[in-house]
């Protein structure tokens, strides 16, 4: 066991035997647990690893194994992030986000903001769709019109409601007008708007055959087996992509995926068995690429009926929760405890924690008493066996929340039944991940907890001040003011706790030692155009 784990267990043992107080115990565990997170925060650390990669070489085939299988290639639906992992290599976006959320040129090489509600983007004149159609501003306009088409009902349209109009000024300039002071345009364009071509959409089923201007061209998709992409020679960025071909396979079992990498069948995998991450990192037989925490795991709480209709019960849960042991025992230290959608290493991190110093069993009990549950209560935790971490968290909660008076009953539902429990608001509490935190305010907190949002699964509508804070955040342009507005949203969200953020999963892509350029990005996309293989 790595040094880090032994220390954690030593403390838990002492705490168990009552030799050290709760406060000492938590303080120690947090610092130890936080070491890994702190390490990756230091800029120096990240810069050094990038430079050490050497100069890229052309050619080679990358066989990549993701966890889940892609289901739908149409970018308008953005259905399951495993589909996005593939098609974001086939389409281009106007702008892209780098590891630190800086906005970098994409299809648009430059852009400027004319006034507080109008932007202009200048797109590359040498971009071609994979059906040899020349890419012009008209295609960008068509993309937006398709996204807003009510008949199609594209889910991502929810993130773009502040956009008022999109028009082509000339062949290579697009003007986008928005409601005044909307601060989230660039992140939205960088996360969820892939430019499509009308002819490409209409000539074949966009769900099966994607046509984009991206670095790789779609070749074939053998269901439940693999997807093959090959290099697009007319890509608008000079001498990219480096790889000739990328093969995507989906292997759900961690051990099997790892063996594939170790035996050389694969040269890129999305995840290794978490309990072996530290051991493999030390081993050096396979390479751990620069990681990132952009994947929060949280509790969804049904606020429309007892027992969680009372805010005190939700706050009691916050006080009773011990995020470090969840991170250690369910994610084996490969996740960072966090009470907000982003982790400390993220530029957006506000550091606000209304429940600082938790877990605090006495406060939890007091709150439960206030809510009328002096002798505790039973809560039903709905778990999806198909998502391995959910049943594990459920079983851990059973032990962890008992002292505070919560009797946790873990109920398992296969995916179809789980979604039904969710949409019919029959569930009480459940867990889920959320894969959109490029702009944690607009793409995570807003859709989850704004009373007008269709994805407010907690049916939480009794906090107008939270709605106000969310709208205020949305329509703040100045980065400094936007950061403070985010901190304000986080505080209000924590006070009401319609959702409770647990941990942020540290996602590390593992490759053969001779593979370079792979890294974890805020949009969770696999930018294979930056990847190359030493000869």
């Amino acid at each position: 066991m790595s040094l880090q784990k032994e220390q954690v267990h030593d403390f838990i043992k002492k705490y168990g035997e009552g030799r050290i107080s709760r406060r000492q115990f938590l303080q120690a565990v947090t610092t130890v647990g936080g070491v890994a997170a702190a390490q990756s925060m230091m800029p120096g650390f990240r810069l050094a690893t990038a430079l050490a990669q050497g100069t890229p070489t052309q050619g080679g085939t990358l066989v990549a194994a993701t966890i889940d299988k892609p289901v739908n290639m149409d970018p308008a639906f953005a259905e399951l992030y495993s589909s996005m992992q593939v098609y974001q290599n086939i389409f281009s976006k106007l702008v892209n986000l780098d590891r630190d959320n800086n906005v970098m040129p994409g299809l648009a090489h430059s852009w400027e903001q004319l006034d507080d509600s109008t932007w202009e983007f200048h797109i590359a004149d040498n971009a071609y769709f994979h059906n040899d159609e020349h890419c012009t501003a008209a295609d960008v306009v068509y993309t937006f019109n398709r996204l807003f088409d009510p008949d199609l009902g594209a889910p991502n349209a929810v993130f773009l409601t502040p956009i008022e109009g999109v028009e082509a000024v000339d062949d290579y300039t697009v003007r986008i007008s928005t409601q005044p002071n909307w601060g989230g345009l660039l992140e939205a364009l960088g996360a969820i708007v892939e430019v499509v071509n009308q002819k490409g959409i209409e000539e074949n089923d966009p769900r099966l055959v994607p046509i984009g201007t991206g670095p790789f061209k779609f070749v074939q998709w053998v269901k439940d087996d693999f997807i093959e992409l090959e290099r697009w020679d007319k890509y608008h960025k000079p001498n990219q992509p480096y790889l000739d071909k990328v093969i995507f396979r989906a292997i759900s079992d961690d051990t099997v995926r790892l063996t594939g990498l170790q035996t050389g069948e694969l040269n890129w995998i999305e995840q290794v068995p978490l309990h072996r991450a530290d051991e493999l990192r030390a081993g050096g037989e396979i390479k751990a690429n620069p990681d990132g925490e952009f994947f929060p795991d949280m509790f969804l709480i049904n606020c429309s009926k007892p027992p969680f209709d009372k805010v005190e019960v939700r706050q009691a849960l916050q006080w009773a929760l011990h995020r470090e042991s969840i991170a250690n025992l369910v994610w084996f230290g490969q996740a960072v405890p966090s009470a907000e959608p982003v982790s400390p290493s993220n530029p957006w991190y506000s550091g606000v924690n209304v429940f600082e110093g938790g877990p605090n069993i006495d406060k939890a009990k007091a709150l439960l008493a206030q809510a009328g549950y002096e002798d505790g209560l039973t809560i039903r935790y709905a778990a999806q066996p198909q998502v391995p971490t959910q049943p594990l968290v459920g079983q851990l909660l059973e032990q962890q929340l008992a002292p505070a008076g919560f009797r946790v009953e873990v109920e398992s539902f296969e995916s179809a039944r789980w979604f039904e429990e969710l949409f019919t608001l029959n569930y009480e509490i459940t867990g889920t991940y959320w894969s959109a935190t490029a702009d944690p305010g607009e793409h995570c907190l807003y859709p989850l907890s704004h009373s007008a949002s269709p994805w407010n699964f907690s049916a939480f509508r009794d906090a107008p001040e939270l709605d106000k804070a969310l709208d205020e955040f949305r329509f703040t342009l100045d980065p400094e003011a936007r950061q403070n507005a985010f901190a304000n949203v986080v505080r209000l969200h924590q006070e009401h706790s319609p959702q409770v953020f647990m941990v942020n999963f540290r996602r590390t892509y593992w490759t053969q030692p001779n593979v370079h350029g792979a890294q974890t990005l805020p949009t969770l996309e696999l930018r294979m155009e930056d990847v190359w293989i030493d000869a």
Binding site: N72, D205, D224, S415
Partner: protein
Amino acid sequence: MRLLRYIAGRLLLLLPVLFGTSVLIFLLLRLIPGDPAQVILGLRATPERLAIVREELGLDLPVHLQYGQWLGKLLHGDLGKDFRSNESVSALLRVRLPVTIQLTLMSLTMAVLIAVPLGIRAAIRPGGIADRLSMLLGLFGISIPDFWLGIMLILLFALGLRMFPSSGYVRLDADLLGNLRAFFLPALTLAVGLSAVLVRITRSAVLEVLELDFVKFLRAKGLREQRVIYQHVLRNASIPIVTVIGLQFGYLLGGAVIVEEVFSLPGVGRLIVSYTLERNYPVVQAGMLVVAFLFIMVNLTTDVIYALLNPKIRGAGT
């Protein structure tokens, strides 16, 4: 010939049974709670989207109309489309069916190659090594859960000795050696259980035939022992053996899902189970119907082999 009339009769019976099965599957799936549209849209479902998707998939029609539509298309050979990816179900089955059939054939062949010779030798030399071996195989083969055996084989041969891949499917036409290596462990896992049953059946069948009078007469007329056993005795013992192989073939079509899961082989069994969880009706209906059809055809084939083996049943002879 009476045999042809017999087969024709059984084929006629096939239609009502398949029809009954299709109705049963259709209703069973729709009775299970859970709405396919919700699964497709996942967390990003909105009421309007749900309505659009349900309408697209024809889920808003009353059940009997849905069945009529499905049956109509089925009769024209169109198995419908995968709810989620809009891929045609027949394309999906074209990938999945060969995997299950190859796994079934390979494991059955292995089982027959292990069990039949061992069973015969055990019957010829009671108390010999083969006899004790057949007892052990017969007992432990059916007691050890095949998915545990699979895991142990992976632990030893794939992860340990790295002789075989621990999972994954390699297409036959793409890479023959790779395909055989990929199918070896799963087929062996199934073969152990199958041969456990088969060796006992073979042994008792041969023992029973050996005690029949005609064997005494064959030996009395000086026929070589080799010919007595492998021509006459085995042929007579083959009727119960063929019956069991037929039953096992039918079982494997759907039952191998667990081993398909352990080795993550994209077989029909696994398809049916995982798509049932997602309420992907067309795929499950087609999958189950194909399995039921193959199951019935295999039973018919076993009965035909009966007739071929037994002249009296087929009314042969001048």
